[in-house]
């Protein structure tokens, strides 16, 4: 696994991808700002969202037991999986019980995290992705690069090529006269997938929310492929990370105000489905829910890091991140890219691998991700927290570790951070372009290294100055 920095350097050389990404993130950013601006009490909403998630996370075992009891009472079967292998084995067993050799899937980050498709393929079961972007990624033998728009790195001409080349080998071929018009490409996907929806016996979904006090699962989407998977097949298997729990049905009020506006920049996404166990005569009559840990209990045990589990995967932090915008999603080496990926991956997996060690450095610490996050995850604080961990692990009580701890203290509070940034840009102005050779208090550390001259303005000041017209 390459480190973020190495992968990012390669990604930077891909000008096509950089152009697509810059266009996409700027577009979504502008839409998001417009619809967030419509809501008077946005800050109250963020607080309500964060409180709902914290309430659930702080008492997670109790809420999970409540969720399980309500699901079971409504006719669903609940399974528990400690890790990816266990989750995949449960799903495979359920599909085999049905005698099925294919499944239709709604986009789910968790199934990517546990590499479910790959495990199913090995067992001879075709897993068809039905979200248009996921279909493009799957047919292109590619990896997703964005939480919300996974094929953001592909343009229409590439998509046309992929459809013409690949659709025929796995089902209904693309029409021969297919053009690269988005409407025509969507139409080709509609026809290709419809035969799969109509014949599928088993569907696999994730869930955006799982409500403890009712046993309701919620899937938020745009295209209707989710609704197809959730209602047409006889059997529905939903994989749900244990952190997806919400305490009460009423908590969906703030959550459904926060998610679409933060995510696609819409007042509401076209379709949201909610279902509670089995509804006789309507939809799948066999409903399974697999509750998955796979590292989440480890994140929860980190008192600072646990706020990362509030994440509702809206992708707002990706779209405002200057590092993501240039490096793209693949450089993060995992299904969770961008600022949240940079903290969530090392929290979930530990900082043993080269990529997980490098991820906490995949950021400029500009703070834009925190401002955008609908559930107020303090990503800059978490990045510094994880850097401390990486450094501590590498060298015990090294000078770097101590330096990073000081930084962690500074970044733990926004006022401290801003004061420090102002102080440092002030000294930058006093120092001119001279390189700093020593900093009082850091002693030995700066004897071996040149400290870069502090910038004359903070990143945020610079951003406001140079991007005024975009906001």
């Amino acid at each position: 696994m390459p480190s973020f920095q190495r992968a990012a350097r390669d990604a930077l050389a891909n000008t096509q991808q950089r152009r697509n990404l810059a266009h996409a993130t700027a577009t979504i950013r502008a839409k998001r700002e417009r619809v967030v601006g419509e809501v008077d009490r946005w800050e109250d909403l963020r607080v309500a969202g964060a409180e709902a998630k914290d309430e659930a996370l702080h008492h997670l075992p109790d809420y999970l037991e409540q969720l399980e009891a309500n699901l079971t009472a409504r006719g669903a079967t609940v399974h528990w999986a400690r890790d990816a292998d266990e989750a995949n084995a449960i799903v495979l067993g359920l599909i085999r019980d049905k005698g099925a050799d294919e499944v239709v899937k709604v986009k789910s980050m968790l199934t990517q995290e546990i590499e479910l498709n790959e495990r199913l393929e090995e067992a001879g079961i075709h897993a068809w992705e039905t979200d248009l972007a996921e279909l493009i990624v799957q047919l292109g033998h590619d990896r997703p690069s964005h939480i919300l728009v996974p094929a953001i790195h592909r343009n229409r001409a590439e998509i046309r090529e992929i459809f013409l080349r690949e659709m025929g080998s796995v089902g209904r071929p693309a029409p021969k006269d297919l053009t690269d018009e988005p409407a025509k490409l969507a139409e080709a996907a509609r026809l290709h997938l419809r035969e799969k929806f109509l014949r599928a016996k088993v569907a696999i979904s994730g869930a955006n929310f799982a409500v403890a006090d009712t046993g309701t699962l919620v899937v938020v989407e745009s295209e209707g492929n989710g609704r197809m998977c959730l209602t047409l097949p006889e059997t529905l298997i939903s994989l749900v990370g244990v952190e997806k729990v919400l305490p009460t049905f009423a908590d969906l009020g703030p959550m459904l105000q926060l998610l679409p506006r933060s995510s696609t920049g819409e007042r509401m996404n076209p379709y949201t489905s909610m279902w509670t166990g089995v509804t006789p005569g309507d939809g799948p009559q066999e409903v399974h829910v697999v509750l998955v840990d796979n590292g989440r209990s480890r994140v929860l045990a980190d008192e600072v890091g646990r706020q990362a589990l509030r994440c509702i995967r809206c992708s707002a932090c990706l779209n405002v991140c200057p590092v993501y915008e240039r490096a793209g999603g693949h450089a993060y080496g995992s299904v969770y890219p961008g600022p949240i990926g940079a903290v969530l991956n090392p929290l979930l997996r530990g900082t043993g691998s080269e990529v997980d060690k490098s991820l906490p450095y995949a950021s400029s610490l500009c703070g834009a991700c925190f401002e955008a996050c609908p559930v107020r995850i303090d990503i800059p604080q978490l990045l510094v927290h994880m850097r401390t961990q990486v450094v501590d692990e590498a060298s015990g009580r090294s000078p770097e570790a101590l330096g990073m701890k000081a930084a962690a203290w500074t970044f733990a509070d926004h006022r401290r951070l801003e004061t420090a940034q102002r102080a440092s840009s002030l000294s930058g102005r006093l120092l001119g372009n001279r390189t700093v050779r020593s900093v009082p208090g850091l002693g030995a550390w700066t004897q071996a290294r040149d400290v870069p001259t502090p910038p004359k303005e903070t990143f945020r000041q610079w951003w406001r100055r140079t991007h005024e017209d975009e906001s």
Partner: protein, 216 residues
């Protein structure tokens, strides 16, 4: 130890530091925007539904049937499925307009199969709740709205909602809904922005959405 026991034990250990009681956050904060007047709420609803490129029309109770027929003709629908419990007066005039009405349940009581539904052009349903700030209609699939697939597989969805069922904001709707029913929230027709972020209507769900608001 079973996976269940082990996961719960891990999570208990992970939250040992938590000192607050369950439910300590107290009452849920009010996050709904408030309405100036029912008339403003309805205007906002109509505006936001139209903003999603759905076709929206306001009519009096006496004109519902005409509005439904006109919407179906505009959409070019020939075969139209209707849920068992739909107000019969809304669709009675359709029988003379050359549009074929397909009941969800045939005489033998068997519901339409997915393949049969795929042969149908449009569906007419009622709705449980409408939300003004987001331009959303919510179906709870009661008998006047039908099974979930009815409003999904046909290419046109004509949805009729009474003005007094339109609430102002999302939390107002959540508090009215019965969580034990399946719920479908619909905001505009099916859409994707997956190709270069160009919005395209219609991938899998209905490509045409008509919302008819009955005003007293």
């Amino acid at each position: 130890m079973s996976a269940r026991e082990e996961i719960l034990a891990r999570l208990r250990a992970a939250t040992r530091d938590v000192t607050t009681q369950q439910g300590a956050r107290g009452e849920l904060a009010v996050t709904a925007a408030s309405a100036e007047s029912p008339a403003r709420t309805l205007e906002l609803f109509v505006h936001n539904v139209a903003d999603y490129r759905a076709r929206v029309e306001r009519c009096s109770p006496g004109d519902v049937a005409t509005s439904i027929a006109a919407a179906l003709v505009r959409g070019g629908a020939h075969r139209v499925v209707v849920p068992d419990g739909l107000d019969a007066s809304w669709i009675a005039p359709l029988r003379d307009s050359g549009i074929r009405l397909v009941p969800d349940r045939a005489d033998d009581g068997r519901p339409l199969s997915s393949a049969e539904l795929d042969e149908v052009d449009a569906v007419v349903t009622a709705a449980r709740v409408g939300i003004a700030t987001t331009g959303t209609i919510v179906l709870d699939h009661d008998t006047d709205q039908g099974r979930r697939v009815l409003s999904l597989v046909p290419d046109q969805h004509v949805c009729v909602i009474r003005a007094d069922r339109v609430v102002h904001d999302v939390p107002d709707a959540v508090s009215l809904l019965d969580p034990l029913r399946p719920l479908t929230w619909i905001s505009g027709p099916s859409a994707t922005s997956d190709i270069e972020l160009d919005r395209v209507e219609g991938v899998h769900g209905p490509r045409i959405l008509d919302v008819i608001v009955i005003e007293p």
